[in-house]
Symmetry: C2
Subunit: 404 residues, 2 copies
C-alpha cells in the first residue's frame, strides 16, 4: 500500500464542480489501495477577497488578526472537500493546521514550520479514512495563536507533511501540466519537462517559475520526498521533481521574473564596510535582497546595485537614502522596469562556455544586459522589462531548442 500526499491549489477548488472533481480523483487514489492525505488551499480567489475586506477596515491590520482572517479560507475548502469525498461513501475527516499538528514560529504572515506532530492525521489514516489538511496554516506552540506560512505556504505544508508522515510521493495538482522549459505564455514552443532535479527546481523557483515555491522544494531536498507537479484537469503525467534524473541536459529551462526592482546606491566611497552598511539595515527592515552587483571602483568611488521585490521597493529606497547619507554616497536610483532572465541546468556544472553563449545570444537579439549573477547551475541577467519576450525566446531557441 502506497502513501500519497495530494495538494490542490485554489484554481482546482474554485467552485462546487471543481471540488467534486478533486474528490473524484482522491477517491480513485484511495480505492486503488493508497493511504491518502489531501492538502488544500483556499477556494479560487477567496483569499484575495478576505485581504480586500481587511484593507477596507484598516490600513495596518494586526498580523495576528490577519492570520485569523485568512485561515478561514482553507477551513471552508477543506470541509467542502471532505463532504465531497464522503458523498462517494469514503470516510474523510478535515483538520486545521493546528489539529494536524503543524507547529510553527509565531511570525504571523511568514511563519516557519518547526515541527509536525500529526497524531490525529495518522490515527485517521489508520482507521482507513482520508485526511484533509488545511494548507498554509499552523499554530505557534508558544503563543497558541494561529499562524500562516506566507506565499506558497500550501505547497510547503504538503511536502513537509509528506516528509513527517513518510509518504512515498507528494503530488502538487495545479492548473498547468507541469514544469516547462520556459513560460508557455511567452514561448509557445516551450515543452513540459518529465523530470527536473531538486536543485534545478530550486533555482527555477527562485528565478520566477511560479509553478512550485522554493520553500516546498527545500523540504523535498531535506527529506528526499519526490514531488510530482501535475494537472488537476486530466490524468497525464506531469513533472517529477526529485534527487536525480535520467538525463542531465546542459540547460533545463529558462525562467523570467518581472516582479523585482533595481536599486542603485551611487557614488559610494570604496572602503571596507560599505556593503555591510548598506545591507544590514535592509535585512533589519525585512527587505529581501536578490542579486547584488558592485561595479569596479573608479577613483575610490563605486556604485552598488541590487534587486528587491517591487512590493518592498518603497521601504528599500527609504532605507537606502538614509544609509547613503551616513556613508557619504551621492544618491539612490530606483528602476522598476526591469526583468530578470535566468537559465538553469545541472549539466552546466561540467560544461564551460554556457555563460558566453547566453551573453552572445542576448547580444544577437539586441538585448542589453544590466546586471549578471551566477551560481554553479544558474546564470541570471537583468534586462529592460521591454526585452523580456525577445530575451526568453532567443535563449529558449538557442540553448534548448523547440519542442520536437
Amino acid at each position: 500500500m502506497a502513501f500519497v500526499v495530494q495538494k490542490f491549489g485554489g484554481t482546482s477548488l474554485a467552485d462546487a464542480d471543481r471540488i467534486r472533481n478533486v474528490a473524484r480523483r482522491v477517491v480513485e487514489t484511495h480505492r486503488a489501495g493508497n493511504n491518502v492525505v489531501v492538502v488544500v488551499s483556499a477556494m479560487g480567489k477567496s483569499t484575495d477577497g478576505l485581504i480586500e475586506l481587511a484593507t477596507q477596515i484598516s490600513d495596518t491590520p494586526h498580523p495576528r488578526e490577519m492570520d485569523m482572517l485568512l485561515t478561514a479560507g482553507e477551513r471552508i475548502s477543506m470541509a467542502l472537500v471532505a463532504m465531497a469525498i464522503e458523498a462517494h461513501d469514503v470516510p474523510a475527516v478535515s483538520f486545521t493546521g493546528s489539529q494536524a499538528g503543524i507547529l510553527t514560529t509565531a511570525d504571523h504572515g511568514r511563519a516557519e514550520i518547526l515541527d509536525i506532530r500529526a497524531f490525529r492525521v495518522r490515527e485517521c489514516l489508520d482507521e482507513g479514512k482520508v485526511a484533509i489538511v488545511a494548507g498554509f496554516q499552523g499554530v505557534s506552540p508558544d503563543s497558541k495563536d494561529v499562524t500562516t506560512l506566507g506565499r506558497g505556504g500550501s505547497d510547503a505544508t504538503a511536502v513537509a507533511l509528506a516528509a513527517a508522515l513518510g509518504a512515498s510521493v507528494c503530488e502538487i495538482y495545479t492548473d498547468v501540466d507541469g514544469v516547462f522549459t520556459a513560460d508557455p505564455r511567452v514561448v509557445p514552443s516551450a515543452r513540459k519537462l518529465d523530470e527536473v532535479t531538486f536543485t534545478e527546481m530550486l533555482e527555477l523557483a527562485n528565478a520566477g517559475a511560479g509553478v512550485l515555491m522554493a520553500r516546498s522544494v527545500e523540504f523535498g531536498i531535506r527529506y528526499n520526498i519526490p514531488i510530482h507537479v501535475r494537472s488537476s484537469f486530466h490524468d497525464g503525467e506531469g513533472t517529477w521533481v526529485k534527487e536525480e534524473t535520467m538525463e542531465e541536459p546542459i540547460i533545463r529551462g529558462v525562467a523570467h521574473d518581472e516582479s523585482e526592482a533595481k536599486l542603485t546606491v551611487k557614488g559610494v566611497p570604496d572602503r571596507p564596510g560599505v556593503a555591510a552598511a548598506v545591507f544590514e539595515p535592509m535585512g533589519d527592515a525585512g527587505v529581501n535582497i536578490d542579486m547584488i552587483v558592485q561595479n569596479v571602483s573608479s577613483e575610490g568611488i563605486t556604485d552598488i546595485s541590487f534587486t528587491v521585490p517591487e512590493a518592498q521597493a518603497a521601504t528599500a529606497v527609504a532605507v537606502a537614502q538614509s544609509v547613503a547619507a551616513d556613508i557619504d554616497a551621492t544618491g539612490v536610483d530606483l528602476d522598476t522596469d526591469i526583468s530578470k532572465i535566468t537559465v538553469v541546468g545541472a549539466g552546466m556544472k561540467s560544461e564551460s562556455g554556457v555563460a558566453a553563449s547566453m551573453f552572445r545570444i542576448l547580444s544577437d537579439a539586441g538585448v542589453n544586459i544590466e546586471m549578471i549573477s551566477t551560481s554553479t547551475i544558474r546564470i541570471s541577467c537583468v534586462v529592460r522589462g521591454d526585452d523580456t519576450q525577445a530575451a526568453v525566446e532567443a535563449l529558449h531557441r538557442g540553448l534548448i531548442g523547440d519542442a520536437s
Copy 2:
C-alpha cells in the same frame, strides 16, 4: 469599573462600514472604563452562503464537516472586528470558541455548552485589551472537534460567557429597537417594551419572537444575567430582560410563528400507550414536537395532532406513517399552512378569564381555532396561515391596546 458583554449579529456586521460602526461602539464602551467582551456572529448572510455551497456538494453533508465549514463565518467577522477596534489604537484580540474555552457536547450542529474555561479571555481583559469571541461555536473536549450550537447560538454564547466571566450585563445588539408587544411588521401600532421578565421572554421566544432565542434566555435565568436587547444603529435604550420588572401587565405581548406544520395521526385506537408509541420514535428521529392535542375519544377511536418545525415535517411524516401502521391507526395528515398565535404575560397567573377573552376576540375577528395549548403565563392557538395578520392585530388591539 463595569464589565459588559456585547453581542453583535450578522446584520450589524454585514459590511466594512457596519463593522467600523460596531468597533466605534465597542471603543466608546471601553474608553468609558468598562471591561468589554464582544461576541460576534458571521457577517450578514454569509452563513447561508456557506450552507448553499455545502448543498451543492452533498445532499447529506457530514455534521462534523458542516460545523468546520460554518465556523469559518465567525472567524472572518471576529478578525475584522478586532482590526477595526485596533484601528482606534485600542488593543483587541479575537478568540475562536475553542480558544475562548467554550466546551460543548459533541452533538454537531446542536451542541450544548458544558463549561466555559475562559482563561485566555480573562488574561486578555487583565491586560487592558478588548476580547472578541466567536459566537455560535465551541469545541468538544472528548472528540477535540469543533462544534456549533445551532440556531441562536451566538446569543447563547454571549449570555453564557457573561455568566462565566461575571459580567454585570449582556447587551444583545440587533437590527430592531428591542422586544415589541407584537411584530411591528404585522401590527404597526406595536410598541417597544422597556422591560420583560425572563419567563415572559422565554415564552415569547418559544412562541416565535425571533429577537432573542430561548436558550440564551435560559442562561440568563440560570445565572441571573440581565440581558439588554438593543439596536446597533442608535444609542437609545432597548428592552431589558431580567428577573423582575417594575410593572406586570396581564398581557406583555402577542407573538406568532408560521414556521411550524401540523401532523394528525387519524383513527388511533384509544388505549394506554398509544401516545408513547407515537412520540418516542419522533424523539429518536430528532423531531422537535411543540404542541400536542389529543381529541376526546369517540367509540374508542381518537385523533392525535401535533406541531413540528416545517423543516422536519418530511421526517415526522415518515415516522408517523410507520407508527400508524404499527398501532392500527387509519392514516396521517400533514398541514403546512398553519400559524401559531401566542399571548404571553406574567400577570396572567393571577388573572382569570384571559383565555376566554382570547377566544372571544379571535371569534369576533372570524378566526377559527384549530388547536389550543396553555401554560401559567401563556396561551397559544393554532389558526390558518391566512388568518395570522387578522388574529395578531385583533389580539393586540383587544388585550394590549395601541401605543399611547
